[in-house]
Subunit: 155 residues, 2 copies
């Protein structure tokens, strides 16, 4: 699933590099080793959200519709990897078990869901620090992310 994000990021960088030329989904697929159907699904989402614009027809294709610096990586992450995928249904409990100790079973699901949700919110907040221009810069000059990433919690 996280591949959706990677494919989206890759596509936006590629379109930016080819600007203002129109790029077909076939060309994009060839630039990654990913199947064209997956690419098309992701391009469709990016198109709907106005990250890219598409021109139909024989010589049609896609073009970037925003500046990389205006594309927040966290927004892109949330778009391609919805929060529900991150922590859903990974809890025990709620078995309705009879006997002592079932107060744990009854309540642990809510507690773990809160814990996972809070952790996931922090995880997503991390991505919101950056734009696609930062990603491009790290590609050109590897180590940039490591140098600017803020420590998440003071220890």
């Amino acid at each position: 699933m996280r591949l959706d994000f990677s494919v989206a990021a890759h596509s936006l960088l590629y379109l930016e590099q080819k600007k203002p030329r129109l790029v077909s989904s076939r060309e994009l697929a060839a630039s990654m080793t990913t199947n064209p159907v997956m690419i098309r699904n992701i391009l469709s989402v990016l198109h709907k959200q106005h990250y890219i614009r598409g021109v139909v027809g024989k010589n049609g294709g896609y073009q970037l519709d925003r500046e990389l610096a205006q594309i927040n990586i966290g927004d892109l992450y949330d778009l391609t990897i919805p929060p529900t995928l991150s922590y859903a249904r990974f809890t025990t409990g709620n078995t309705g078990a009879v006997g002592e100790g079932n107060d744990i079973s009854r309540n642990i699901e809510e507690t773990l869901t809160d814990l996972f949700t809070l952790a996931d919110e922090g995880y997503r907040a991390f991505y919101h620090q950056f734009t696609m221009a930062d990603l491009k810069r790290d590609i050109e000059q590897h180590g940039y992310f490591k140098s600017i990433a803020q420590a998440p919690f003071s220890k």
Copy 2:
């Protein structure tokens, strides 16, 4: 996979509640709706790391070997869900594609791996804020985690 963490947390809470009685893996499995083989695998890991002690034999079973307040949730998370599971292989690129634009393909894997690794480190740091005593408290008094969780990044 995240179920491993939930099962471990559930097991420790259950053992703490039954202390000092020995609890069989069968009883633990019955307190969750999880298969006994999975429970036994996780108990074996917890045993090896001295979270619990085991007594073999007919009336044998497991017992908590630490105080809940001495069990860090982040340590438990790292133990049951190794970092390699979190972000491995979810990148595009490295296709060796020929032509323009392959500098993206060549370099995006390193960049995305850094991004995901940093995000994952922050994610794990979140869990390290808490102990199993906090988890128990949230089960008894739901909302505790929400009330104490530190904002991960100042916005």
